[in-house]
C-alpha cells in the first residue's frame, strides 16, 4: 500500500461530519498554523514541500503564494478552484463529497497565510449536491469556532463562501473563474496583470485547486521537508488520480508518484486491469487535453524504460513520445475503441467550451469538430488529415488562455500516433461505420495479447 495523506480517513464512517473529522485529528493543522506559525513561515513550509498545483498546470504552490501583492488597505482573497471540468477528471468531486472538512481546514490555513478574510470556493454548477455538503461543513466549522471572527483568539477573521458556476469548462481557467465570480461571462483576461496583483474585484488574489489546498493540511502537520520526501524528484507528495474508461475498477486513487503506469493499470490495488479481459490500446493519462499515447509509449518511454505515474516521467520524450500528468484524469481505451471517434467527441467538447474571444480557438475548434465528424461518418478525404494538423498548429499558442492548446493537443497527438487509423477511416468509409480499426501495432507490449 502506498502512502495516503489525503484519503487515509476517507473510509472512516461519518468522516463527513465535523465531530468524526475532529475526533480523527482534524483541524490540528489550523491550531498549529494559527497558534504557532507566522504567515511567512507557512508559505516557507509550503515552498519546502515542493507542492505543485494539482489542477493540471503543476505550478509550484509556495511560489504562487509568494507573488501575492500586499498593498496597504486593500483586501486580499483566496479563491478555491472547484470548477473541475476537464473530461476524465473527478477527483476534486470525490474529495469534497467525502472529506469536506479536509478542504475547509486547508482553506482556513491557506487563508491565514495569504491574509484572506473572505475566501470563495467556486464550484462547477452541476455539483449542486456537493455545494450543500460544503455549506453544511462550513456551518459546522463556524459553530465550532474555526471560522468567523477572531479565530482561536488570534485576531484572524475568516469566512468561506461557496459560489456555483453556470456550466462552462473555461471557468476552470483562473482569470475566467474570477470574471465568473464577478458575475460575468467566463472570458479569460489578458495577463499581466496577474491575479496575484489584480484578481477578484482587482484585488490581490490567489486561485488554487481543491486538491492543492487540501494538501496544505498534511504539509503543515508533518512539515514541508517530510512531505517532500514522499514521491520522487520534483513530483513530491501524493497525487489523486481519477481513473476511468475500459478498466475493472474506475475510481479515485491516491498515489505517491513512485509507481509505474503498468502497476497502476494492472494491479488490484488500483485499476485492477482491463475490463472483460480486453487489450489495452491507448490512454489519455492526465485529462482530455493532454496527448493520447498508444499502449507501448504509455507503459515505456521511447528509451524503453518503464514509465512512472509522475510529472517528469509522463512527460518524458516531450510531445513526440510522451504526454503529461495534467489533472490526473486517467482515461483508458481498450482494443474496441475508435481513436477517430474519441478525438471527435473531444473536439466537439472544446468547440462547445470555447469562450469565443480569440478567433483561432473560436473558429478552429469548430473546423476541427466538423472535419473529424466528416472522417468519422465516412465522408473524409486524405487531405482532411493534413488540414486537421494544420488547423491545430494554428490554434496552439495563438490564444489568450490555454484552452486553445488544450483543444489542439488531443487532435495533434491522435494524428501523430494513430495516423494510419485516420487513413483507414478515409480509405474504408463503409467498413469504418460498422467496425473498428482495432489494435494493429498499438498493443501493450508487456501484457502480450493472446
Amino acid at each position: 500500500m502506498g502512502v495516503k495523506l489525503l484519503l487515509d480517513k476517507a473510509n472512516v464512517p461519518g468522516i463527513r461530519t465535523y465531530e468524526v473529522y475532529r475526533r480523527e485529528g482534524g483541524y490540528r493543522a489550523v491550531e498549529k498554523a494559527l497558534k504557532e506559525m507566522t504567515t511567512d513561515a507557512i508559505v516557507e513550509e509550503v515552498k519546502k514541500s515542493g507542492l505543485r498545483g494539482r489542477g493540471g498546470a503543476g505550478f509550484p504552490t509556495g511560489m504562487k503564494w509568494s507573488f501575492i501583492a500586499k498593498p496597504d488597505g486593500v483586501p486580499r482573497h483566496l479563491v478555491c478552484n472547484a470548477d473541475e471540468s476537464e473530461p476524465g477528471t473527478f477527483k476534486d468531486r470525490y474529495l469534497m463529497e467525502f472529506l469536506p472538512h479536509l478542504l475547509i481546514e486547508g482553506l482556513i490555513v491557506s487563508s491565514y497565510a495569504l491574509g484572506s478574510n473572505d475566501t470563495y470556493i467556486y464550484i462547477r454548477g452541476e455539483y449542486a449536491w456537493i455545494t450543500d455538503i460544503l455549506e453544511q461543513a462550513i456551518e459546522e466549522a463556524k459553530a465550532a469556532g474555526w471560522l468567523g471572527k477572531n479565530i482561536l483568539g488570534t485576531g484572524f477573521d475568516c469566512n468561506i463562501h461557496v459560489q456555483r458556476g453556470g456550466g462552462a469548462y473555461i471557468c476552470g481557467e483562473e482569470t475566467a473563474l474570477i470574471e465568473s465570480l464577478e458575475g460575468k461571462r467566463g472570458n479569460p483576461r489578458i495577463k499581466p496583470p496577474f491575479p496575484a496583483i489584480q484578481g477578484l474585484w482587482m484585488r490581490p488574489t490567489v486561485v488554487n485547486n481543491v486538491e492543492t489546498l487540501a494538501a496544505v493540511v498534511p504539509i503543515i502537520n508533518m512539515g514541508g521537508e517530510e512531505y517532500a520526501k514522499i514521491g520522487v524528484g520534483k513530483s513530491t507528495g501524493t497525487k489523486l488520480i481519477s481513473a476511468c474508461g475500459n478498466i475493472n475498477k474506475p475510481g479515485v486513487y491516491e498515489i505517491d508518484m513512485t509507481i509505474t503506469v503498468e502497476e497502476f493499470i494492472y494491479s488490484d490495488e488500483y485499476c485492477g486491469g482491463m475490463k472483460d479481459g480486453k487489450k489495452l490500446k491507448a490512454c489519455i493519462p492526465g485529462g482530455s487535453s493532454v496527448p493520447i499515447l498508444p499502449a507501448n509509449l504509455l507503459l515505456t518511454t521511447a528509451k524503453g524504460e518503464p514509465r512512472y505515474m509522475n510529472y517528469e516521467s509522463l512527460s518524458d520524450g516531450g510531445f513526440a513520445t510522451g504526454s503529461m500528468l495534467g489533472s490526473g484524469g486517467f482515461i483508458v481505451l481498450d482494443e474496441d475503441q475508435c481513436i477517430v471517434k474519441n478525438t471527435y467527441t473531444l473536439a466537439r467538447f472544446y468547440r462547445h467550451e470555447s469562450c469565443g474571444q480569440c478567433s483561432p480557438c473560436r473558429e478552429g475548434t469548430g473546423w476541427m469538430e466538423k472535419i473529424l465528424q466528416k472522417i468519422e461518418t465516412g465522408k473524409g478525404e486524405m487531405s482532411d488529415i493534413d488540414l486537421l494538423w494544420d488547423i491545430q498548429r494554428k490554434i496552439e499558442g495563438n490564444t489568450i488562455c490555454p484552452l486553445g492548446d488544450a483543444a489542439s493537443w488531443p487532435v495533434a497527438a491522435a494524428i501523430r500516433h494513430f495516423r494510419d487509423e485516420f487513413e483507414w477511416h478515409v480509405k474504408n468509409p463503409e467498413l469504418a461505420q460498422t467496425s473498428n480499426f482495432g489494435l494493429q501495432h498499438y498493443a501493450d507490449p508487456i501484457h502480450v495479447p493472446a
Partner: protein, 166 residues
Amino acid sequence: MATTFNDTQMTEFKRLVARYPEGKQKSALLPALHLAQESFDGWLSTEAMDYVASLLQIEPIEVYEVATFYSMYNLKPVGKFVFEVCQTGPCMVSGSDNIIDYIKKTLDIRPGETTKDGLFTLKLVECLGACGYAPMMQVGKIYKEHLTKEKVDSIIAEYKALATNN
C-alpha cells in the same frame, strides 16, 4: 406565472448577495439565476432575467449576456424533469451512445425536445465529472450513474411516479 420571488426565495436571494462586499452585488448573478430558474418553472424568460437585473441593480443586457454564455441556464421552456445525458469521450467509450439512443426511442423525442405530456426534456451535455461512473445523466440536482437500459426504465418510472404523486 409570477416572476417575482416569494418570501422564502427572497430570503435565499438576500443570503446570496450578502456574501459579497458592498457594491459588488453583481457577483451574485450566477447563483441568482440558478435561484430564478428553480423558482420559475426551470427556465429563464426575459421577464425573469429582467427581474433579476432589477434586484441586482444592473442592466438587463448584463444578465442576458451571462445567461446565454453558461450551459445550465435554459432559455426556453423545458419539461418537469430534464435528462442531461453526458456524451463526452469517457462516457462515449463506456457506451453513452446506446443510452442516448435508448432514451430517444423510449421517450420518442430528440435532443432538445420535450415529451408531449410535458414531463421529460432530453438535453445532451458535455462532461459532468462522473467519468468513472459512466454512462451518466443529471436530473435536477442528482447524478444518475452506471446507466443501463434497465436503469433508464426505472428512472423514467421513478419520475413518472413523482409527477403523479405531486
